[in-house]
Amino acid sequence: MKKSNGRGKTLTRRAMVLAGGKVALLAALAGRLYYLQVVQAPKFSMLADENRINIRLLVPPRGLIVDRFGVPLAINRPTYQAVVIPEQAGNINETLDVVGALVPLTEADRHRVLRDIRNHHSFVPIVLREDMDWNEMARIDVNAVDLPGVSIEQGLIRHYVFGDETSHVVGYVAPVSEQELNSDDPLVELPDFRVGKSGVEKQYDLELRGTAGTSEVEVNAFGRVVRELAHEDGIAGDQIVLGLDMDLQDIAMRRCAAQGSASAIVIDSWTGEVLALASAPGFDPSAFASGLSPAQWKALVDNPYNPLENKAIAGTYSPGSTFKPLVATAALEAGVITPDTEFFCPGEYHLGNTVFHCWKKGGHGTLSVRRAIKESCDVFFYHTADLVGIDRIAQMANRLGLGVKTDIDIPGEKTGLIPTRAWKLATTGVAWQRGETLSCGIGQSFVSVTPLQLATYVARIATGHTVKPVLARDGGVMTASSPIATAISHAFAPLGVQQKTLDVIRDAMYGVVNEVHGTAYGARIQDPTMIMAGKTGTAQVHHIAREIRDRGVVTGTKVPWKDRDHALFIAFAPVAAPRYVCSVVVEHGGATGGEGGAVAAPIAHDLLLEAQKRDPARRVPPVPFDAAKLAQG
């Protein structure tokens, strides 16, 4: 038994050692609990909140874009989608049958829905049908009793009330692209968010976006929303008011579209506000908001009229004879000619061995600058250009807004080109040729300009001030009590061109439209208070070789459309107090293959007549448009 007692003592001793170890380990547990729950408690509390609280951003309504009278151009249309929560729906096939009986549901839709249901937790809402109209939504809504788990979600989708008529001005929105994701704005991460991709939508994107709202929700480990803890509505984006007059824009777009590929601009030169900026054909900008199909995209890209190009600001054309008033201005200001200087036009002009032709076979006889502009004599301007030189022409062109960007507030503007001696040497390495000055003198050769530059140029001739075109309008929507501009804006500095020079040019342009033998006599405005002055132009697309000219120049519809000349016209009105200016470019002479005076001038006639009739001094603004009524179609 002694031995047994010995092992008993060992047992007791060792049990006490174990007990000591256990106490130490329990103390370690207590210490660890203290560390976690006291020392590190703030950190873990934060992590627990991060676990359970999910902050979701709410897309704010995008700001509206309206015309000068408040007519909505870009709005947010309510869109409805039917969603189903599978766990509440019961038999999903029955649900699909019932929904299919109410709204069209293709076989592909059914497959997508069933696949989505398999791939998600059963509490995740699955979209049954997107972009339903109000009637379809209502049909589902009234049958809600038969459709457990089905609900209607409302969203907003960008809608362009006038579709293709404003597509080049207002632009469009589309889903955020890869590059645009690198933005500080958290909104760009949201799948429903759209950004401006062109036009005013792009230029004023940040103003239009607004501020995101937030919804703080408690979620469980599977992402199921348990409840909403806090909700803050976003702030809608700013409304952008354009100087555009939608009625005028409508006329301009219709007239241009009738000519196939054309552009027209009307500017109030006293304020610089663009009243109409048409580039035909347009495209449906609403389609971009929901995403274009490859077929739609291909149709747009393959269209020979190039509907995606905003020709008014990005089309570059030889100005043709519309350049002649500018050459005359440069020459008069340089003093190389006076209003009475006369040249003889025999129908051609010889420089060395080269012969330069006048458009009029047989020539104009002896004429001074007024008749040279009125009848668009080429030989007179070969003389004049040769005298004044290309650099002084270029200097004046830039001063009047040609060959430089107008900085209009939509992206995509082209610079065009006004050549100088230095430019040619630098780009081609070949010295300037005298003959090139002659070609440039009638707006051909290297010279190229945009329709917007032409409108700016005529606005500067018409006012004598450095008018700059602008789309967004200061001072908001016009109402009956809005102040009306009664003189040229103080923001526009004088051009520094002598008044007498301007008077000669304007008077000659009066002759172009209002006197017999004027190249646009057929397009005159007869109302004596609204008389228009202007200048025609025809821009060669292809150089006419001597042998072809010898055989007789072929014009009009006899040559392929792509090879026909462009028809141009610039104009201002009323002549007594010039205010409204217009430029029209009809590519390849339009539907009839006609020249500036025959095709482009009538469009300018209609636009300037309408612009003057709508002059704010003569009219009260229309009854404000009901945006809601429009939105519902």
């Binding site: 047992l11 060792r14 547990l29 207590a30 609990l33 976690l36 729950q37 408690a41 509390s45 408690e218």
Partner: protein, 382 residues
């Protein structure tokens, strides 16, 4: 020669035995089980269904088993030890065979009425068999290393089988529980040093045999931040739950981690997180204190026992219980890797509850028969 013969201690009537049951310990055990019911009610998002109600029923059944075990003479348990071990071993083999035939991990045997987990029973069986083995062994034999081969195999064979199931937690429990029995029996310390060395040599080999998820858990324990959504998820979410509870907790039924399902296994191995989250440091320490009192009771019962077998059994069971509690809480609060060990009396689970209560039954049997003297082979020493 009173210590040689005391008929009143060997021939107690049932009513006397019932009176001799350590009722304060029963109350303590019930209190801890009550904490478990409350936690399971919370884990069920404030509902008796599905866990709390079944746990109460299990506890009542297990409590009955405990009392029955306590009534049975300690010598009967001594004699039954080898048989009990053998039966458990057969069940373990049966599970292994079925697991080999079936798919994946197999720890359960379905007896129709209840499903049992033989590896759980093995924890108690091992204590019983080692207590009997060392009871029958004088000091000089304990010093003979050859005599230790059999008990070492008694530990290592089931441990290896459990490890292969694979159930790392239970395997560790078996090895540590068995080692504690060796230590209590008086095995020389240098032999433990040798075993540590051997174990150290075996580690690379064992590592090779661990399942991928077990390796991940150990690696993740060593560096939990490197995989917060994968293998580290359990560990991190448990720490967030306990840590965010602070000193006084978020309040009963208000634990966000538990109620928003961020805690996996919250009703079984990770039930301590609910306590830590909803009752904070105070709640956790109170539960640990309750367990500490239970351990103290176990020690008191062991010291009070006059038989070597009773003492070994009581110390062994108490140590086993301690290992349960320590490993579970330590893994939940990130002191040990996540190995599947339930929190005794609190975690949801039938076999675990039955095993623990069976252990308490044996402990009480030791107390009820505290004055019974037992010879080397289980006979009463008269």
């Amino acid at each position: 020669m009173r210590w040689l013969y005391d008929p009143s201690q060997t021939q107690q009537t049932l009513s006397v035995k019932l009176l001799n049951v350590n009722w304060p310990l029963v109350a303590l055990v019930t209190t801890i089980a009550g904490v478990g019911f409350a936690m399971l009610y919370s884990a069920g998002n404030g509902s008796w269904h599905p866990w709390a109600e079944r746990q109460v029923v299990r506890y009542l059944v297990a409590a009955l088993v405990m009392l029955v075990v306590a009534m049975v003479d300690i010598r009967v348990w001594l004699r039954a030890a080898y048989g009990f071990y053998a039966v458990t071993m057969i069940l373990l083999i049966a599970v292994e065979v079925r697991g080999a035939i079936g798919m994946g991990a197999q720890r359960w045997i379905d007896l129709g009425i209840i499903q049992i987990q033989p590896s759980e029973f093995m924890k108690i069986a091992l204590v019983m068999v080692l207590a009997r083995y060392f009871n029958g062994m004088p000091v000089e034999e304990i010093r003979n290393p050859v005599k230790l081969i059999v008990p070492a195999l008694l530990i290592l064979v089931p441990a290896a089988m459990v490890l292969k199931q694979p159930d790392l937690g239970t395997a560790i429990m078996l090895v540590l529980g068995g080692a504690a029995m060796f230590f209590l029996a008086g095995v020389r310390l240098w032999k433990f040093a040798v075993m540590f060395a051997v174990a150290g040599a075996v580690v690379p080999f064992a590592w090779h045999h661990l399942r991928e998820y077990q390796k991940n858990r150990i690696l993740t324990f060593l560096n939990p931040e490197n995989d917060p959504l994968g293998a580290g998820y359990h560990s991190l979410q448990a720490k967030i739950a306990v840590g965010s509870g602070g000193v006084f907790g978020k309040g009963y039924l208000s634990g966000t981690q538990a109620h928003l399902s961020f805690l996996p296994e919250r009703q079984t191995d990770f039930i301590f997180t609910i306590l830590g989250e909803e009752f904070g440091l105070v709640g956790g320490l109170v539960l640990l204190a309750l367990y500490a009192v239970v351990f103290a009771y176990g020690y008191a019962i062991a010291f009070r026992s006059r038989s070597h077998f009773g003492r070994l059994l009581a110390f062994g069971i108490t140590t086993n219980l301690f290992l349960y509690v320590f490993i579970n809480v330590a893994m939940v609060i990130g002191l040990l890797p996540v190995v599947g060990v339930p929190l005794p009396l609190v975690s949801y689970g039938g076999t675990s509850m039955l095993t623990v209560m069976f252990g308490f039954g044996l402990l009480m049997s030791v107390y009820v028969h505290r004055d019974v003297r037992i010879g080397r082979y289980g006979e009463a020493e008269i």
